[in-house]
Subunit: 166 residues, 2 copies
């Protein structure tokens, strides 16, 4: 039990990151199995297209970089297109070749950074919360960003799966 | 930093449970805002109905009880109906009044138990993994069940939201 106490925080980090990885792998496998034609469709009548959702996921995952202090966004122009704007018919979105490439890149980059963050640093504040607020709300830490974004990914996974033929 | 190390596991637990709670609250608000007529519809053409998904979520959350050693399932008959069987037109499902009640009950009960589990116990094995396997895969612990089921809930939340009118 002493070993668990000593290594507890490291084991928590491992458990959280494995859940992130599991969810990301599921979405990667789904997207790789979908054709560009599949992804051009709406996931349900009148709802977002696969293209928009893939761009949205790239934009949200790209936003994890500055939140964790890992660097600036790689694709800052995606925020206006895929977060602040809704899916728009006839919008000039990047090609699926580009979106698929960025999706792989942003996640590979995040994963490489994740492995360098210590358990103590995971429990430190993320950049969108002030030190004053963080003093009273210590759960608004970096690992919370990973937990929250894993849930966000699962949410849209549940929608993208409708692009698969039954 | 010493305080963080000492209290690190407790803070991790708090952070994970707050994410569970946030996700559960979102789904509760969605379901409360949907009429029985809304929930009787398919979330997308040819996909599960809201009734089935609500029963499925009750069944999966009920399954958390034995996995964490909190007791037997409250609604064991739900497994055959909502996990092992697909959504079936004309199936005799419990009424939405019952499903809504069970959904509240199963989550209230889980939440009451969650607060009694110590950080060390959260890192102990869940009942579906053997001690031998757990020795090599210590991330297959109780908190992992909460992480996994939070993702599962988010996945179906992304689908149930399509029952809301745009």
């Amino acid at each position: 039990m002493e070993a668990i106490k000593e290594n507890g925080t490291a084991l928590f980090v491992t458990t959280v990151l494995k859940n992130w990885s599991l969810q990301a792998t599921r979405v990667n496998e789904l997207i790789e199995g979908l054709s560009d034609e599949d992804l051009a469709k709406e996931v349900a009548p009148g709802r977002n297209t696969g293209i928009y959702l893939l761009g949205h996921l790239v934009a949200v995952h790209d936003g994890i970089r500055p939140l964790l202090g890992l660097g600036e966004k790689r694709y800052p122009e995606f925020e206006a297109m895929f977060i602040r704007s809704a899916d728009t018919p006839n919008a000039e979105y990047p090609s699926l070749a580009v979106l698929r490439k960025y999706w792989t890149e942003v996640n590979t980059d995040l994963w490489n950074h994740f492995s360098t963050i210590s358990p103590e640093d995971w429990l430190s504040r993320h950049t969108a919360v002030t030190p004053e607020v963080f003093a009273n709300e210590p759960h608004r830490n970096k690992i919370n960003i990973v937990l929250n974004r894993t849930g966000h990914l699962a949410y849209h996974h549940g929608q993208l799966v409708f692009l698969k033929k039954k």
